[in-house]
């Protein structure tokens, strides 16, 4: 195989149609994910990270649509693939875990059947064989007594168990890329760690690349090698995860880092109020001119209000979109 | 603001019927009951008789206009009675809970088990035919949906902060129900009331058709149709126009209800189709 990256997203634009008008909900987003790598996308809700992942798997639905740019998966452009071609990738080579394990599973279908569907769809095996594989898949996500559990319905499982089932479904066909959209947000803190460990371990064992999406910078930094920070539909910074913490470049990233509570910070610096970023993410139809972060930015100047900053490469390989990056 | 076709069309149809009812004495050509003339019996539509005449030679156009008065009165008044009963029972049951809630719940379940037309028919069997009896029969038999809705809203609203605050301020239960709870459930109740009005108009027509509602010669659309059945071969127009009038009225009310629901009760689109 070539050494080309698994996924290359270039200048992706996602349009939100309101009547005849189109607003770019995501614009100029470019990033790459190597084979087996875990890449994180972080940002506040409404910044466009979730719809970016839906675009990658071809599940954007009206009023959202891809408005431009290219998505290259395994060297092949997939943004214009037909539905039937896309279906061969979906679930098979690119799969997805969603935020809400409560509602993401069909309430009227036993979980075994919902896993088995994957094998019938993509491996062309019989239902009997698929059901046997489903038991194995359930065992691989460490659900106890899988041969009995396959007959359970989603409402009989806890949130964490349901998310394990979702992971079993997503990894059933050993995909090259797993999109995990806030996979632990709806779960208890103790369960979160287990689920993250499971994702990390299984993806490492199968060489699956992961796009981890979260609003939680700490979680992302913990899981990922590289991080992209999104704000108002744009990628504002892309760095190695450790560096984001040590040396954030974009004022928005600095704000995010400063708003994290740090273990031991109180003993070092005394009692301090956590920092917050004033204001909220603007709605898609009201993105400000110039740099989209300027109304909330402490360093904003006249230039920021007028001119959209381009992407600047940083010395250590990162990228930042700011006139005044540090 | 989006153009809401159902609201506009429904409103126009219903307003048309209301105007026809109110101005019937001016718009009608003849007296709907007294001006029978066997010389002109079963005249087809045209000429002086726009909608033709019936077996007694009465002008159907005039009778249809006057019929709007009966239908609207029955529709509006009986649905008002239903709404008041449903809101009182549901609101108090949801707010107070306890044995009263159990009782109202049982009552509602019983009401839901008896098809409302059958229940109304049973009441009409006891009372003498006529407008008042119809208002009672239809006003007592269709409150269960309103009651359920009011109860559910009261249950969810009573734990809200502002209701709790009113309690702390020492407001009486009645005052809390009327000033804090009722205004917040009014939208869906108006929607159910509007749709129920259409149902009441249909029920009145059905009962009158069966000879248990408004009795001939008074011009109720339903009783006109029950007369017309015998002349369907010789004079089909006697059957057509009163039926069209019922259809337009009920369609107007249903469209109006749908349109109001889109505005007043957006979540209900999936709750009650």
């Amino acid at each position: 195989m070539s050494r080309k990256p698994l996924l290359e997203v270039e200048n992706l634009r996602i349009d939100l149609s309101v009547g005849d008008a189109k607003f770019p909900a995501v614009q100029d987003v470019s990033f790459t994910i190597e084979r087996g790598e875990t890449f994180g996308l972080v940002g506040e809700s409404g910044c466009g990270k979730s719809i970016t992942s839906l675009a990658l798997i071809g599940l954007l639905r009206h009023p959202l649509s891809i408005g431009g740019g290219t998505i290259r998966f395994d060297g092949k452009e997939i943004q214009n693939l037909s539905q039937s071609e896309m279906r061969k990738l979906r679930g098979n080579r690119i799969s997805m875990i969603f935020q809400e394990p409560m509602t993401a599973l069909n309430p009227l279908s036993p979980i075994g059947r919902q896993i088995a569907e994957m094998f019938v769809l993509h491996k062309g095996v019989s239902w009997t064989e698929a059901n046997r594989l489903a038991v194995e898949a359930l065992a691989s996500v460490r659900v106890p007594a899988p041969e009995r559990r396959v007959k359970d319905y989603p409402h009989q499982l806890s949130g964490g168990m349901r998310q394990r089932v979702m992971i079993a479904i997503a990894l059933a066909c050993e995909p090259d890329l797993l999109l995990a959209d806030e996979p632990t947000t709806a779960l208890d803190v103790t369960v979160q760690a287990e689920i993250l460990d499971l994702i990390r371990e299984l993806s490492a064992a199968r060489g699956t690349a992961v796009l981890m999406i979260s609003h939680d910078l700490g979680l992302i930094a913990n899981m990922c090698r590289r991080v992209g920070v999104m704000y108002a539909g744009r990628l504002v910074e892309e760095r190695i995860a450790d560096e984001v913490f040590r040396n954030p470049s974009h004022p928005y990233t600095s704000g995010l880092v400063a708003s994290l509570p740090l273990l031991g910070a109180r003993s070092k610096h005394g009692r301090q109020r956590l920092k917050e970023i004033a204001g909220v993410v603007p709605p898609v139809a009201a993105f400000p001119a110039g740099c989209r972060f300027n109304p909330r930015c402490y360093a904003a100047t006249e230039l920021c209000r007028v001119e959209d900053p381009g992407v600047t490469p940083l010395a250590n390989g990162g990228l930042v979109r700011c006139h005044h990056h540090e | 603001m989006k153009f809401r076709a159902n609201l506009v069309i429904g409103g126009i149809l219903f307003a048309g019927v209301v105007i026809a009812g109110i101005f019937a004495p001016m718009l009608a050509h003849t007296d709907p009951v007294m001006d029978a003339n066997l010389m002109y019996a079963e005249e087809p539509p045209g000429g002086a008789f726009w909608f033709g005449t019936d077996a007694q030679g009465r002008d159907i156009y005039s009778r249809v206009l006057y019929g709007a008065r009966i239908s609207l009165t029955v529709g509006i008044v009986s649905q008002l009675i239903n709404t008041v009963i449903g809101v009182c029972l549901g609101l108090s049951a949801g707010y107070w809970g306890g044995w009263w809630d159990d009782f109202v719940n049982g009552l509602t379940n019983m009401m839901l088990a008896i098809p409302s037309l059958i229940f109304a028919l049973a009441i009409m069997a006891i009372l003498n035919p006529g407008l008042t009896s119809l208002l009672i029969a239809l006003g007592l038999t269709n409150w269960s949906f309103t009651c359920r809705l009011a109860r559910a809203s009261a249950l969810s609203l009573k734990s809200q902060g502002y209701v709790q605050a009113a309690k702390v301020l020492g407001y009486s239960d009645i005052r809390i129900m009327l000033t804090q709870l009722l205004p917040n459930m009014l939208g869906p109740i108006i929607v159910i009331g509007t749709l129920g009005m259409g149902g009441a108009v249909l029920a009145e027509a059905a009962l009158s058709f069966l000879g248990l509602g408004i009795r001939p010669p008074f011009p109720s659309w339903g009783s006109m149709l029950s007369d017309a059945r015998d002349q369907i071969t010789t004079a089909p127009w006697i059957s057509i126009f009163p039926g069209v009038a019922i259809f337009i009225t009920v369609l107007g009310l249903n469209l109006l209800g749908d349109g109001l629901r889109d505005i007043l009760d957006p979540q209900a689109r999936t709750r009650r189709a």
Binding site: F98, E117, L121, H155 | N109, P236, L251, N254
Partner: protein, 311 residues
């Protein structure tokens, strides 16, 4: 499942008792008795002695609570009393009428389901299309049509003008006789089913688990077959159960119009004749039918939806 059915039966019993009590009380407060109503119309003048004898014969001069006790005791043995008019047991009078009403109601619901559910499905799969608009406009129109008028118009067109179908009557079970009344009765539930189905399918289309199904790489037709249908079915079945009650109630008007020898026309005739035991019995049987059908629907829903048993 068995315990669910038993529990459901136990919930139904108090409703039946309450309905029986309500009907009894309603008809006990009627001013005047059957005997006086016979003399009211002036056709048959009964002297006081005959009236007293009739009241005694039907046990009408006992106190109300004694009569209620007797009434419930009789009901427990499926004895619905004796018709004032024909002196036949009410139960056997009703039994003769049950089958035609069941036929008509089922035919009407069958028509409503076979046309309404697919219509709602198609409309929901293409929201905003012309077929969606047309079916929803037809649905609201169907809900607004008076059944007896629709029946009258159908009768005029298909029986009298075109001569394709018989105009009225039972025809001794000839299936051609049931077509027109079943359509007249079925249009309203058809319209409601189409609307409910559309709303249910649209809601489920946007559900998270349908998005999951798509993310698995499933074709739309498999999404519909594997995940949508069952979920929509629960909502549709519940609507069908509730509509059955309305249909049995509305059958009164349609049966009368088409001279269909069912429970509905029996009820109307008995009301006109003030044959109270038959009126009470018919209403009770209609309510019972409705409750039984809804129980069947609930059991079906519980089979399809595993969550129902536990909540």
């Amino acid at each position: 499942m068995l315990s669910f059915i038993v529990r459901r039966l136990l919930q139904t019993l108090p409703i039946i008792l309450a309905v029986a009590a309500l009907i009894f009380v309603m008809f006990s407060v009627i001013p005047g008795t059957f005997a006086s109503s016979m003399s009211d119309d002036g056709r048959s003048v009964l002297d006081a002695e005959v009236m007293a004898r009739m009241n005694k014969e039907f046990g009408l001069d006992d106190p109300v609570y004694v009569r209620f006790g007797k009434y419930i005791a009789q009901l427990a043995t499926f004895d619905l009393g004796t018709s004032f008019r024909t002196r036949q047991p009410v139960a056997s009078v009703i039994a003769d009428r049950l089958w035609p009403t069941a036929q008509l109601s089922f035919a009407a619901m069958l028509f409503a389901i076979v046309v309404g559910v697919p219509l709602g499905f198609i409309a929901a799969l293409r929201p905003g299309s012309w077929i969606d608009t047309i079916s929803m406009v037809s649905a609201v129109s169907g809900l607004s049509l008076p059944k007896f008028w629709l029946g009258l118009m159908l009768m005029y067109l298909f029986a009298l003008v075109l001569g394709w179908l018989p105009s009225f009557g039972y025809g001794g079970g000839d299936p051609r006789y049931i077509i027109l009344p079943a359509i007249a009765l079925g249009v309203a539930p058809l319209a409601l089913l189409a609307r409910t189905t559309r709303a249910a399918v649209l809601e489920i289309m946007n559900a998270d688990f349908v998005r999951t199904a798509r993310s698995k790489g499933m074709s739309e037709s498999k999404v519909v077959r594997w995940h949508l249908t069952r979920n929509a079915l629960v909502i549709i079945l519940t609507t069908i159960g509730l509509q059955f009650g309305t249909v049995i109630g509305q059958a009164v008007v349609v049966e009368k119009l088409f001279s269909w020898p069912g429970l509905g026309s029996l009820l109307v005739d008995s009301v006109t004749l003030r044959d109270i035991p038959v009126v009470q019995g018919s209403i009770l049987v209609i309510v019972l039918l409705f409750l039984i059908i809804n129980m069947l629907v609930d059991v079906l829903c519980a089979i399809i939806d595993p969550r129902i048993k536990y909540t």
